[in-house]
């Protein structure tokens, strides 16, 4: 029971020459019997060593599919990468043969999932699952792998690791299961950790524990992290930069502070105004009218235009390009400047 203040995250370090991980103009579609769903429509983002990038979006925005494309775990068919590049340390992962990609997966880039209960195998003890990677990938002996698994369980602060290594997933609580999954992801010392909604299924006090753990591990192990979430509160607590996705595009990209202070895309602005806040009383909830688009029939021009309060004829006709607003901020809106000025007031 400690009363601790959140530690500031250290400034991110950029490696020499290029980014650690870069997604360039990625297009992914799902070819189904009902038609082609354009799930990712030209997504670009980058990640430098040691930093935390949050990818924010609602269901169907394509935030998880982008991550699956990076990991090479897209279900294809129906998924099909139409074009784009995913550069890891300068090499395009998409053109590499599966054998080579496997060397990257887990060892360089690892991923944790939302639902730990279904991501873990119910019929094997957790220790066996954590050490499996070590045995198959590192060729460790059973005894060594077991020792390392206990170390990893200690690292993610599972109490009495030595005693619990033989327990099965159902014997752990939700928060502890998520820790087991984090331990598995860390087994091969990855440089990038992709966390896909890591705390969505957890209670608020446990969520705080897991977010703390992730922040500590990221700092201690010097990892870079991509945090995929729909929760604006979680993002504000840990991320350095944030990319907001809508209908398979990044609509706004900025450092966390400036984005929350003055969002420059009407969608981001609408989201921030529509969440009830714990620290604000008697607040009027604004709403974003309408529904997210059907990805088989994305509206013309700006995909957000049917729901946008700033809509003009140009939004219906022309797809907006990323407008650079300075300090590394971009917004894919024809009226980005205006929106930002409105938000800043």
């Amino acid at each position: 029971m400690t009363n601790s203040t959140v530690q500031p995250t250290p400034a991110s370090a950029t490696p020499e020459g290029g980014h650690l991980l870069e997604v360039r103009d990625l297009y992914v579609e799902f070819r189904t019997s009902e038609g082609v769903a354009k799930v990712i429509n030209g997504v670009s983002y980058h990640l430098d060593a040691g930093e935390t990038l949050a990818v924010l979006g609602e269901s169907g925005s394509g935030k998880s599919v982008t991550a699956q494309a990076i990991m090479g775990i897209l279900d294809s068919p129906p998924a099909h990468v139409r074009s784009g590049q995913i550069l890891y340390q300068g090499h395009d992962l998409l053109t590499q043969p599966e054998e080579q990609r496997r060397q990257v997966r887990g060892k360089e880039i690892a991923m944790i999932f939302q639902d730990a209960l279904s991501a873990l195998n119910p019929v094997f003890p957790v220790g066996w699952q954590i050490s499996e990677t070590l045995r198959t990938r590192e060729g460790m002996s059973r005894a060594d792998a077991r020792r390392r698994a206990i170390e990893l369980m200690d690292l993610v602060k599972i109490p009495a690791a030595e005693r619990r290594i033989g327990d099965y997933p159902h014997q752990f609580s939700g928060g502890m299961r998520q820790r087991v999954m984090i331990a598995m992801a860390l087994a091969l010392n990855p440089k990038v950790l992709i966390a896909d909604e890591p705390t969505t299924a957890l209670d608020v006090t446990v969520q705080a524990q897991i977010m703390d753990l992730l922040a500590d591990l990221r700092r201690d192990l010097g990892m870079a992290m991509i945090l995929i979430t729909h929760d604006l509160g979680v993002v504000a607590g840990v991320a350095d930069r944030i990319a907001v996705m809508y209908a398979g595009r990044i609509v706004e990209h900025a450092d966390v502070r400036s984005l929350y202070r003055a969002p420059a895309h009407p969608y981001t602005k609408g989201l921030l105004e529509s969440i009830p806040r714990l620290d604000v009383r008697g607040q009027e909830l604004a709403t974003i009218r309408g529904l997210p688009p059907n990805l088989m029939r994305i509206p013309s021009g700006c995909p957000f235009h049917p729901r946008c309060p700033y809509v003009q004829q140009v939004c219906v006709d022309v797809v907006p390009h990323d407008l650079v607003l300075g300090d590394g901020r971009t917004s894919a809106c024809h009226f980005a400047q205006e929106v930002r000025d409105d938000s800043a007031r």
Binding site: T2, N3, T5, E58, V204, T205, G233, L278, L285, L291
Partner: protein, 343 residues
């Protein structure tokens, strides 16, 4: 749509009074000769009053018994003991025609809009089904018109009456669930996590709809949710549950600004605030460990195993949920006090 006749009644009077309700689920062992070896104490002595026209928020983590409480109030579960007085009658003792009559006054909106609507029924049949059970609520000839009115009230197109649930989005389905709950013109609606399955931009639409319906029809809500920000937004009073008990209950202001129970304080401090400017200034209370099993709750105060204030008395004596010197709202802690300069 006309307001229910009862709206002439006084706003603020007690409409539902719940007294010491208990639900223990038996744990049994053995195949042929089953014997009870213990009980999961899902709800263990909960009392509160609901006033006319107000929203009572119920918050707590998973397993605290808040959904069981909702199911008990709807008589979907039979309580082990306790009373719930609605219209001068004990809801838990009622049966047959009387239970049907009482239930008509209290309806429920479920959490998951994907599983709580029958996929083989049209929207018109789903919303009109309560009229099959209570034929006097709307004469057969006018039911279709009434269902269309309800669709209109919740912001759906009345012409979509013949569509099926799969043709609607999650937010629209939740509106269908709300229309069904409104069909019998109840005075009380129990909402069990009504917005937690929805996207952020849709959540606000449904919350605003619930607030607007409350003003229009003078409804009383019991609003169960795990999201403390949503509960603060919609509630007049809030009850905080932990392991089957209410640990603190008070007005929205008393709970969110002047909480005296350590669990409430920890819960509030753990909620992420969507503002990076305050992230380093907030004083977050980190609770260690998990919620103990409700089959074997700790002696004395149930929160003591995770509480930083715990002393010997907490293990031997259970604190009552009563008004304390720290602040005049009921709080179940021997050492209740307002947290100094809470974030």
């Amino acid at each position: 749509m006309t307001a229910p006749a009862s709206s002439t009644k006084v706003r603020g009077e007690t409409i539902l009074s719940v007294d010491n309700v208990v639900k223990h689920f038996p744990i049994s062992q053995g195949v042929l000769f089953k014997k009870q070896v213990g009980a999961v104490k899902a709800v263990d002595g909960v009392s509160f009053e609901l006033r006319r026209g107000e929203t009572l928020g119920v918050v707590g983590e998973s397993g605290c018994g808040k959904s069981t409480l909702a199911r008990l109030l709807m008589r979907l579960e039979t309580p082990t003991s306790g009373r719930a007085i609605l219209e001068g009658r004990d809801l838990f003792k009622a049966s047959g025609a009387e239970l049907r009559r009482l239930r008509r006054n209290m309806q429920m909106v479920m959490q998951d809009p994907y599983t709580s609507l029958n996929p083989r029924m049209t929207v018109g049949d789903i919303i009109g089904e309560p009229f099959e059970i209570h034929p006097d609520a709307a004469p057969r000839g006018s039911r279709r018109k009434r269902v269309q009115e309800l669709l209109d009230v919740v912001g759906l197109n009345p012409e979509h009456i013949n569509r099926y649930p799969h043709q609607f989005s999650g937010g629209q389905r939740q509106r269908i669930g709300i229309a069904r709950a409104l069909a019998l013109r109840p005075e009380i609606i129990v909402c069990d996590e009504p917005v937690s399955a929805l996207d952020v931009s849709i959540q606000a639409q449904v919350i605003n709809l619930l607030e607007q319906l409350q003003d229009e029809f003078g409804l009383s809500y019991i609003f169960i949710a795990h999201d403390l920000s949503v509960v603060r937004h919609i509630s007049d009073r809030v009850a905080v549950m932990y392991l089957g008990k209410i640990v603190e209950i008070g007005t929205e202001d008393e709970i969110y600004e002047r909480a005296t129970h350590p669990y409430t304080q920890a819960l509030l401090s753990a909620v992420p605030v969507p503002d990076p400017e305050v992230r380093h200034e907030r004083n977050i209370i980190r609770l260690t460990g998990d919620v103990p099993s409700p089959a074997d709750p700790p002696s004395g105060c149930r929160f003591r195993t995770r509480c930083w204030k715990a002393q010997e008395v907490c293990a031997t004596e259970e604190p009552l949920t009563v008004a304390r010197a720290a602040d005049p709202h009921p709080s179940a802690c021997h050492f209740a006090e307002v947290r100094p300069a809470a974030a």
